[in-house]
């Protein structure tokens, strides 16, 4: 596209130390079905370009939705002017960028059936059928099916000579049944958090069976007992739940921009500071976390990040010890790293990219262990499925999580359903208390497509994964 060349030539002639342009069209299809009423069926298209200019150790970023030669050149000029203004408030000589070479490449999310080319009726028919299934249960007062499909089409060029052509997309079906009974209401949700695939995945999920299951479980949940008093108990957490736990307590804690204090004003900083690299015991010896933007069907998998750095796989926590961070070209040199791990991503064309959590997962246990054996080996505990309430401090140390469905475990058996369960823990106590992880047969990926971070706020996406795991001696109790 000619605008890539116009922008790069303008940046060079104006004297930019480095510049890139990201032309991006983001298309989002949303279908929201509430109690058989289609509350929103929409397609949103955001089309434009953002230009980053690096000058004298500082960034300027300007964006526009007007596609003309003059406007592209004017946007580059504006970005340069802003970079010069930024340089008036820099520390020392300012930022430096990690080394990188040029690439000419393309990437496509592997999609068999593109939801954007599928007739709307086919999608809505399935959604109505699923909704009817949930509404057919007496006591279910609210049935929701939310289907989100998203596609990003990007062209990227940098003054390093890189030219990228990247199309990524994901789909995320979510169904919720809410039961009302004797003055209480409780919900149960099926949501795998989105995956970088097409409609074929939705048809493989067996959503009618899931609808029946969650409606039945919502009715069980609303009538279930609560735990009341908080006590030290054993927790067994399913992979979906662990996806959120690791996102909050490991993923955000190991973003290098937070470690450096760049998010101090809003999203927060991190306790996992650089002097802890290689020596801080973050978890038990069983705990291995991998950052992997090469993960097949991963939401952060895109071939390259928005710095033009190729996707990579690396250990963030190895044998329980903090090993490395997720980094970008401007954060990596701050702790002496020569190269970025390729974690710089923007939500849409009008966002300056920021340091993001990569696809991040907990490796499965090496010894054969099934979930049934894990529960069978637990005398007294609580088994939590799915995601619920979550809250963590701005240093990523102390947290409280709920869940979506709970079972009390007694003498190796699921003894009774529970509701309103909460647990409180902190780093490194929580991951240090992990004493068993099921094997790779039970490892499952779960996505996050609404990770809020930054000022102005951006919404990021990444995939997490785990096998069911057990944690000892955690404070577990009920809400008020």
């Amino acid at each position: 596209m000619k605008y890539l060349d116009i922008a790069m030539e303008a940046a060079k002639s104006l004297g930019a130390d480095y510049a890139d342009i990201r032309i991006q069209r983001s298309t989002t299809e949303t279908i929201y079905l509430h109690n058989l009423s289609l509350k929103n069926t929409s397609t949103d298209i955001l089309d434009g370009y953002g230009v980053r200019v690096f000058k004298d150790g500082a960034w300027g970023f300007a964006h526009s939705n007007v596609f003309t030669d003059d406007q592209v050149a004017a946007t580059v000029k504006r970005a340069l002017e802003i970079a010069r203004l930024s340089a008036k408030a820099k520390k020392g000589k300012g930022l430096v960028l990690a080394e990188e070479r040029s690439y000419i490449a393309s990437y496509r999310t592997p999609v068999k059936c593109d939801p954007f080319s599928l007739p709307l009726k086919e999608k809505v028919d399935l959604m109505l059928e699923v909704n009817r299934m949930m509404m057919s249960f007496e006591g279910i007062r609210q049935a929701v099916f939310y289907l989100l499909s998203h596609k990003d089409e990007k062209l990227f060029a940098s003054t390093l000579g890189t030219r990228l052509d990247v199309i990524t997309q994901f789909i995320d079906p979510m169904i919720t049944a809410t039961a009302v009974w004797e003055g209480d209401s409780q919900s149960r949700t099926f949501d795998e958090g989105g995956r970088a695939v097409g409609w074929e995945w939705v048809t493989e999920l067996g959503l009618l069976d899931k609808a029946k299951q969650i409606a039945e479980e919502a009715l069980i949940k609303v009538k279930a007992d609560t735990l009341k008093e908080e006590a030290r108990r054993t927790l067994i957490l399913d992979p979906n739940h662990l996806g959120l736990t690791m996102h909050e307590s490991v993923g955000h804690a190991t973003e290098l921009d937070r470690v450096l204090g760049w998010e101090a004003d809003y999203a927060g900083i991190s306790f996992a500071t650089p002097e802890k690299l290689g020596n801080y015991k973050y978890g038990s010896d069983l705990v291995n976390f991998v950052g992997d933007n090469t993960l097949c069907e991963g939401l952060a998998t895109a071939g390259f990040d928005d710095d033009g750095v190729p996707n990579q796989r690396w250990f963030i926590i190895r044998d329980g010890v903090l090993n490395e961070y997720g980094s970008t070209r401007d954060t990596a040199p701050q702790i002496g790293l020569r190269y970025s791990r390729g974690c710089n991503r923007a939500t849409s064309y009008l966002n300056q990219p920021i340091n993001r959590i990569p696809n991040l997962y907990l490796l499965p246990g090496e010894k054969e262990l099934t979930p049934a054996q894990l529960i069978g080996d637990t005398d007294d505990g609580v088994y939590i499925q799915g995601r619920g309430s979550f809250s963590i401090d701005q240093h990523r140390v102390n947290f409280q999580f709920g869940g979506d469905f709970f079972w009390e475990v007694k003498n190796g058996k699921l003894s009774r359903p529970l509701k309103k369960v909460l647990y409180k823990s902190c780093n490194p106590e929580f991951w240090g208390s992990c004493d068993a992880i099921c094997d790779e047969r039970f490892w499952k990926p779960f996505g996050v497509v609404n990770c809020g971070k930054g000022q102005p706020n951006q919404t990021g996406r990444m995939t997490h994964g785990a096998a069911p795991a057990r944690f000892r001696n955690i404070r577990v109790g009920g809400s008020q």
Binding site: S37, H63, A83, L260, V397
Partner: protein, 426 residues
Amino acid sequence: MKSKYEKIAEFVKKHVKADDYSLRIAARSSHETRFAQNAITQHIAGDNVDIDLEVAFGNKTGRCSINQTDNEALTQLIKRAEEMAAINEPDPEYVESAGAAAYPELANASPATLALAPKQMVEIIRQSIANGEKLGATVSGMTEKHFMQIHASTKNGFSGYHELSEFGHSMTLKKEHIETKVSFSSKDFGTFKLEEEIAQLNGQFQSLSDPQPFTAGKVPVIIRPDALMEFYWFMLWMMNRRQSDEGLTAFTDQIGKKFMGEKFSLLSTLKDKELVTAPFSWDNVVSEETYWVRDGVVETMPTPRYWAKLKNLKPAAPFNVFIPGGKATEEEMMKLVPRGLIVNRFWYIRPVDMKTGELTGMTRDGVLYFEDGKVKHAVNNLRFNEIPHDTTRRLLALGESVLTDSSVKLPAVLVDNFNFVDTTSF
């Protein structure tokens, strides 16, 4: 610029074939400068427009939005929305678009904000950093200005336009264990006084110098306005008329009842000139002076147009938040209880249980312990599990209402027996 949006509206009106439509155009021009650890880290400028069209054939709807304004793009916008509606399933809860209505003329855009130059914004940051460096601390924050133009029109004759501006500046000061923050947000840059913000920030910073451990429990707490905004925002979010009527929230069957404490009122107001006040909602409900809660009695709740039609109610949407305050100063509040805490801000508030309205969250940016009417020392951060509507029944005193966000004005309050359930490790 207004005429540009009128032209788009004319084009849509002329070319839409559907039985009904609602058009909303939101244009935004922004300049946003982030700084952290005493240096600018991000610096963003640009304009964008969102053109959102919903159409209906009978009760079959389709919606599309784009950010391109040429006729070809607008033609595609209409085509996509109409194609979607034509093949969609009927929506039994569809409500026709709003008809012609008069809406209040409000001054939401400030000339001082519009005139603010990027150079001035950088100078504000340089002075903020200089203050941090003088204290041997780091300062992080964001300085931003926005100008927005909103146009709305419908097939049934609603037509509206309004403009608004916003200026914001925040500063988080950090030195070793001390972290504290101030933030300013208003439609009018002319009311911003950096020296006052810095004085407040430095005052908070000094007060946090000697933290002592504090054990969680039920304790009287002075919740400063920024913290109260975060806490009560979730309560307003849960006050949905339909969800309450369906038995899903704590507000079920509470209309007309003294469900909250009598010291507590909550309204959206057209009368306060400092507040940004949208004259009509995203669904074209015209803003009217509305008490959601008056002296503890729940008078009404935000009510979507479909639910209003079904239940023969008036549709209502919150367009700003105003909690009338009292006259108590912090010093006077401290004398009303033997001991307690003062909270600057809350952080990461999330619902724990929708039916009871219970929330969890933590303190952030400074907690102070007071005893015998005087601040004694800072304490560690704490986690709470609390029910906001329940805390209105435990209000002991209210301070003067102040602007915490361009569309939010509320007081500091003294709440008895606030339920802290855990301490954090810093």
